[in-house]
Assembly symmetry: C2
Homo-oligomer: 213 residues x 2
Amino acid sequence: MIDLAILGLLDEGDLHGYEIRRRVRAQIGLVANISYGSLYPALAKLEKAGDVEVIEGGDEPVASLPSTGSLAGERAAARTRRFGGAKSRRSKKVYRITEQGRAQFAALLAAPGGAEDAKTFGLRWSFARHLDTSARLNLLERRRAQLLSQMDEVEPAGELDHYAKSVVDHAADGVARDIRWLDELIAAERAATESTNKTETAAEPSAARKASA
Amino acid sequence: MIDLAILGLLDEGDLHGYEIRRRVRAQIGLVANISYGSLYPALAKLEKAGDVEVIEGGDEPVASLPSTGSLAGERAAARTRRFGGAKSRRSKKVYRITEQGRAQFAALLAAPGGAEDAKTFGLRWSFARHLDTSARLNLLERRRAQLLSQMDEVEPAGELDHYAKSVVDHAADGVARDIRWLDELIAAERAATESTNKTETAAEPSAARKASA
DNA sequence: CGTCCGCTATATCGGACTGATATATTGGAA
DNA sequence: TTCCAATATATCAGTCCGATATAGCGGACG
């Protein structure tokens, strides 16, 4: 979900479209990516919905590191600003998230529905700081269940040739690796919960502790 | 590319749409998957293009294992056949690949253009038996280059919080693992090329035993 | 000193694919 | 017998990607 990525980044500071894409590529490019073909329509849609607003001569990126490779761009923007705002000006529409947008972000991040595919999960987890421990555990277990159901839909050994088998085996190893990783994250979250043994969230049954392939 | 999967499976025997999807899920479900929403339009398109043809009461699946979970379906098909072919019949359009379709399959499999993403590569490699060694090496190196360019587009360390860092690190490990795998496959192909003079596929050399990260 | 290249930046379009839904048919369980 | 689950085909709205178009700007280069 591209809205999630956009709102999540805008929550850390005002940005324009090009920079949003650059940050997604630089930060979580190995997990998910967005194209202009979906980015700009999504921004227009979010603006119409009132989740974001345009602040024309948007200065200070609020979040740290204003530079990082876009020095020329920043200078260009400064010059644009100096020139005054003749309406013929194009270039650089800076977006800011609204209160409604923040609520929408929280809703998308919680997102009880849906299949939790790799990209969406990666995106959600990269914003996991916005969730509480029980929501985090819920997310991890949802992804884990998704991987398990994916695994036992595949036939055990099948009569595949050498090449097909190599790709299937590699993929199976990858899934097993992902599940181990999820188990570590789940354990870490549980440990964090117990160490904060105030009272809250003492229960959380969440039955998925055996599952040894 | 869904056409590649369809033609590749039909090359092993006549099938109807439902069974094509079942086999994709069962055989390479961890790598790629197809939905009805793309499968049936694709079949219609391929038929119109002359790459496949419909054989109405399609019998013997040609390829082995006619059963595997679809016993009921096969019996139903048999009964349908006994009933005779009143044109009001719906159910079960069995497809067969044409000569032109085989050529198209070869073209799609070679496919010099395109970015070689994970799913497409997995699909291509699972059909690698249809390629010669040099085409196989070309495919492997294309995928390898794709992963490398993907890696150095990401910023080195970035100031990410704990959760984002965990997902990025995990993804980076996954890419490194994929590259090691590709290196093994490349080494194996090279070894196979050099030992062609003797008994073909002499010992499955597994010639990549170093694999130092 | 001009002009051409590459980067920043926004925008749109066609095409591919998904997920949901609708519709038939049939074998088997209750 | 009735109803459910599985088999089987088909379509649709929505989502996303890749390619392409446009445009301002700074610097390289002769």
